[in-house]
């Protein structure tokens, strides 16, 4: 598949935004500026960027507790995102959702989700809306390797297959369900083989190769748009940080330093940088320019969040019902 140069540059930029955002969050969290929980996406950027590059604003996604990357790739604005992490009134959810619940239905973001496997049935329902009311639109569901053992995975895959819904199930296989390795939680290596049980295509790709993710996702999305039904796309990747900020030494209780370092060598961003240099798509200077712009954008979002007020206490009673 020939990927247009402009799209490749955009993939790069999206991954840089996610990385820069997450690195700042890591620092802000360590310094106590961000309350609650933060599950960082560093190392997995190629999945969100590669999949969302083929989505239109009117397409839907459901996300996970590790959702910052997905919503950035789907077009979320950094200012209300950062403000939400701070619990400020200007956040996407008026500060009432936090890191795990960022949503913007107008952008097709049906919410990050704090329940592992919680987003799958919701994506199926969005797919049903697409089929009945908006032919050509699709719903993408992100979830992890551990969620593929949840009943909702199996129920949702079956339901989408039976009703031939335009849903793309994107499994981010990062090798761990919190501290439990994939080998400990399932006997298969490739989760994509589970697609066969539901009569849909299952594809496994290197989730750190953004071009491979892009290509596989584009194909699955096109098929869904054309009424060809759902696909299970497994992207093998790795999270560099612990399960959450505060997981001691990036998960040293359950994985080795060597393993983390090995995966860091497979960084999806430096990998694309090498490709961009080799193919003369972008110069080092141009890439640095993107980093500089993005870091300023992230810094601006921090300033926006810090200057924003907390919600008034009366807000606790608002939005229980529409």
């Amino acid at each position: 598949m020939e990927i247009p140069t402009e799209s490749v540059r955009e993939l790069y930029r999206t991954m840089v935004v996610i990385r820069a955002f997450e690195e700042k969050v890591q620092d802000l969290y360590a310094r106590g500026h961000i309350p609650g929980l933060a599950h960082l996406y560093i190392g997995e950027e190629a999945v969100a960027a590669g999949v969302c590059a083929s989505l239109e604003p009117k397409d839907y996604i459901t996300s996970t507790h590790r959702g910052h990357g997905h919503v950035i790739a789907k077009g979320a604005d950094l200012n209300p995102m950062m403000a939400e992490l701070y619990g400020k009134a200007t956040g996407y959810c008026k500060g009432k959702g936090g890191s795990m619940h960022i949503a913007d239905v107008d952008l097709g973001i049906l919410g990050a989700n704090g329940i592992a496997g919680g987003g799958l049935p919701i994506a199926v329902g969005a797919g049903l809306s697409c089929k009945l009311k908006h032919p050509g639109q699709v719903a993408v569901c992100f979830f992890g390797d551990a969620s593929s053992n949840n009943g909702t995975f199996h129920e949702s895959m079956n339901f989408a297959a039976v009703h031939r819904l335009p849903v793309i199930f994107v499994c981010e296989n990062n090798g761990y369900g919190i501290s439990v390795s994939q080998a400990q939680h399932q006997v298969i290596q490739d989760i994509a083989i589970r697609a066969a049980a539901y009569g849909m295509p299952g594809v496994t790709v290197d989730g750190n190769d953004v071009l491979a993710v892009y290509e596989a996702a584009a194909q699955a999305i096109e098929q869904a748009r054309d009424g060809g039904g759902p696909t299970l796309l497994e992207c093998k990747t790795y999270r560099w940080r612990g399960h959450h900020e505060g997981d001691p030494n990036q998960g040293a209780r359950y994985r080795t330093k060597e393993e983390i370092e090995q995966w860091q060598k497979k960084c999806p961003i430096s990998r694309l940088e090498k490709h961009l240099t080799k193919t003369k798509t972008m110069s080092k200077k141009q890439m640095q320019g993107i980093w500089d712009d993005v870091e300023k954008e992230v810094d601006d979002s921090i300033a926006f969040a810090e200057e924003s007020p907390f919600p008034p206490l009366s807000e606790i009673q608002q939005d229980v019902f529409a």
Binding site: D104, L128, L132, N158
Partner: protein
């Protein structure tokens, strides 16, 4: 024009009307198509509206209840039949963490206009996993409207209201009253939520009842009127929003409260009403509050045991008599 139809037919008419009026309304559930629903509530709707809008689902409650949440967030107005309230437990995450929370935790950015139809109740020999009445559990989850109409008239009006509401609504039916008949206008109408109905005015004692316990309470009230006890029977109709003022005003007038609901006694919705009255109207109470409820046991199968489980008119009478000793 009113005519007499069953409770099941009344809900069917409401669904039919809403589906005709609004093509965003779809039905999902197990055996709701060709079979017409286990209690025939959706009979005929597949033929009229087709399989894209009347969806027979796999036996897969998390997928279709959660699917309804996603469909509702993206512009449809699904009405989901959960065959028995007992089965909702396998979709509890979708109900409690997803459906009920979306609007609030997204700061008002998402709406979830869906109706979850469930039925409660023992009395059909369906034993411990098809007969429960644990609807009160959902009172504890903010974000879900809960209604329980006791008559065909209210069933039709409250279903239309539920479908037109922009919030998730748990619509609680009782499996023993599906074939009960009552007067129902042919035209469409709504019955607002949060308004208890005075089914029988009285001055001596307030008897708040739900679903099948309403008819039993009315029968007891008539019988005891002959003995000079004037009971006010309130059909609660709506658990959330709860008509606090309706209950409190009645108790302030009578000074006594009995509640009647088939759910097991501990944590029964009568407990919430008792707390409400003691918190806001204790100075008006002349007697202890008594709850008529199912016992704290699973529903047994053996017919005599099952009958003993179900709160009876006799149980209501005993509760009223106990309260009357203080008056």
């Amino acid at each position: 024009m009113s005519r007499v139809i069953t409770y099941a037919q009344a809900i069917n008419e409401a669904l039919d009307y809403c589906m005709e009026q609004d093509d965003r309304v779809i039905l999902m559930g197990e055996d709701i198509g060709k079979y017409g629903g286990i209690f025939q509530v959706t009979a005929g709707l597949l033929d009229k509206f087709g399989s894209e809008r009347v969806i027979d689902t796999p036996i897969s409650e998390a997928a279709f209840v959660g699917g309804a949440v996603g469909a509702a967030m993206t512009g449809l107005r699904p009405v989901v039949e959960v065959m028995f309230i007992d089965f909702i437990t396998v979709a509890m995450d979708m109900v409690v963490n997803q459906m009920a929370k979306m609007h609030y935790m997204f700061g008002g950015r998402a709406k979830v206009p869906m109706v979850l139809r469930v039925n409660i109740g023992a009395g059909r020999g369906t034993a411990a996993q098809h007969s429960q009445s644990f609807h009160a559990i959902f009172q504890h989850i903010p974000g879900i409207k809960i209604v329980m109409p006791s008559t065909p008239h209210d069933a039709k009006g409250m279903m239309i209201e539920a479908i037109q509401d922009d919030n998730p609504v748990l619509f609680v039916e009782h499996k023993k009253i599906y074939i009960d008949k009552g007067e129902v206008p042919e035209e469409a109408y709504t019955v607002p939520f949060g308004q208890a109905k005075v089914a029988r005015p009285g001055k001596d004692l307030t008897l708040v009842a739900t679903l099948n316990m309403v008819a039993k309470s009315l029968a007891v009230a008539e019988e005891m009127a002959a003995q000079g006890v004037d009971i006010e029977v309130i059909d609660l109709r709506s658990l959330c929003p709860l008509d606090r003022d309706g209950v409190l005003d009645s108790v302030r007038k009578t000074g006594a409260l009995v509640t009647a609901d088939e759910g097991c006694k501990t944590g029964n919705l009568g407990a919430e009403l008792a707390a409400l009255v003691t918190e806001y109207a204790v100075e008006h109470l002349r007697a202890p509050i008594v709850r008529v409820a199912g016992p704290d046991t699973p529903v047994p199968f053996s017919p005599p045991l099952e009958q003993a489980f179900i709160p009876s008119e006799e149980d209501v009478k005993k509760a009223v008599s106990r309260v009357m000793e203080y008056l």
